[in-house]
């Protein structure tokens, strides 16, 4: 059964009572909530996710409406993980982005059995593309554009590297678009399933793109990294795609990882192995259609399909 198969009322009842069990990539999540904006958003953005039977969950997440006097004129919602609330309450209408940020926090602070790159990851023909995040890079915009052009979304936020196989582990979740990029994607992909816009968040206006059913259904299929692409969006700039220095790539990727220091020597070995085995590229672009065409044509024939972590 998928989440979309619930009626609104049935989903509301489930989230109010025993909670909903679902899974994103390797993480099983139990969700409880009485926040209406969140429930509606969950039904739309997570429509294709499987509903699991009651079982042990990695994260017990709740979005709870606060019952203090504010509820009459400015209702607030609290994000809880395993019964504890790591953040201050948010306005109830921001419960959908709060869920996404909260779940990112849970993964980023706990999943140290993976190397976690702060990157978007997409896959085509069995080869994964890593787009490390840097301010102003346009990572999520390009990620959404590729995901809506036939690439499989592994993640918009986490490049999860399996420490044994060095494969990228999918964790497909809604892609968070910000500010101008929301209309850019709406215009270029009118068929895209994009949720409502949330203005005045700490990151400006935010809206989420629903992952494709293909990405959701293949969330148990890891992919081998083939390209690491450092990117920069420049308005009206032509597409420039060129080799990028490997030593600089290693430093950038190490700085970009959420838990490089936590993993110590293993973190260095994993990042080093990734850089050695991948084609490292620099991309600057100003036009999404052009850049999609260039990335669709990437050819990695001859690049190693396995990575030796331990020779570093």
């Amino acid at each position: 059964m998928r989440i979309a198969e619930f009626s609104s009322d049935a989903l509301k009842t489930r989230l109010h009572t025993s909670g909903l069990y679902t899974q994103t990539g390797p993480f099983k999540i139990r969700i409880k909530s009485n926040s209406r904006p969140f429930i509606e958003s969950l039904r739309f953005l997570y429509a294709d996710y499987a509903v699991l039977d009651r079982q042990l969950a990695d994260f017990h997440v709740a979005l709870e409406l606060q019952t203090n006097y504010r509820r009459w004129f400015h209702p607030q919602v609290l994000f809880k993980i395993d019964g504890k609330s790591p953040f201050q309450p948010f306005p109830n209408e921001l419960s959908p982005p709060l869920f996404e940020w909260g779940l990112n926090w849970c993964i980023g602070t706990r999943a140290h059995h993976y190397l976690m790159l702060h990157s978007a990851v997409l896959e085509k023909n069995g080869k994964a593309l890593i787009l490390p995040a840097h301010p102003g890079s346009g990572k999520s915009t390009l990620c959404a554009a590729l995901a809506l052009s036939g690439w499989r979304l592994l993640s918009d936020e986490f490049g999860l590297i399996d420490t044994k196989s060095t494969c990228l582990v999918p964790i497909p979740r809604p892609i968070a678009l910000k500010n101008e990029s929301i209309n850019v994607i709406r215009k270029l992909f009118p068929q895209a399933a994009i949720g409502p816009s949330f203005p005045k968040t700490r990151k400006g206006t935010v809206a989420h793109v629903r992952p494709s059913i293909m990405s959701v259904d293949q969330m148990d299929q890891p992919a081998q990294a083939a390209w690491i692409i450092f990117l920069k969006y420049k308005a009206s700039s032509p597409v420039v795609l060129e080799p990028f220095d490997k030593a600089q790539s290693l430093l950038r990727l190490a700085n970009n990882a959420f838990n490089y220091e936590v993993l110590g020597k293993q973190g260095f070995q994993l990042v080093s192995a990734l850089v050695r085995s991948c084609q490292c590229l620099w991309l600057s672009y100003g036009n999404l259609e052009e850049v999609i065409e260039r990335l669709d044509a990437l050819d990695v024939t001859g690049y190693a399909s396995t990575i030796d972590v331990h020779s570093a």
Binding site: D245, K246, A247, Q248, L250, L251, A254, E261, G264, K265, F268, Q269, S272, V275, R276, A312
Partner: protein, 97 residues
């Protein structure tokens, strides 16, 4: 004017430093500090030399000069500065001479 010390230095214990190299650019990971450093070819050569044999600034300048023609232009004060930088990064430690 930099003061030349006769202190002998050695790189951190065997297996502490992990290396990666591309086109004359070196990355060294120090598993004691958890820090990753970018080194150019000469600095990498000096640190590798201190991994092989403990020495002071004067001895390091001589070793480097024998190994590389560009390094021959570097004198003992240059090596002293490099040693101080390695020390501040925790890449080397004093060695009883």
């Amino acid at each position: 004017m930099i003061e030349i010390s006769r202190q002998t230095w050695k790189a951190c214990a065997s297996g502490t430093l992990l290396w990666e190299q591309w086109n004359g650019d070196y990355i060294v990971y120090n598993s004691h500090s958890g820090e990753t450093h970018f080194l150019n070819e000469l600095a990498a050569m000096a640190l590798k030399s201190l991994e092989e044999v403990p020495c002071n600034a004067e001895q390091l300048a001589k070793t480097m000069a024998m190994r590389d023609s560009i390094a021959a232009d570097l004198d003992t004060p240059d090596m002293q500065r490099l040693i101080e930088e390695f020390d501040s990064l925790g890449l080397i430690e004093p060695h009883p001479s």
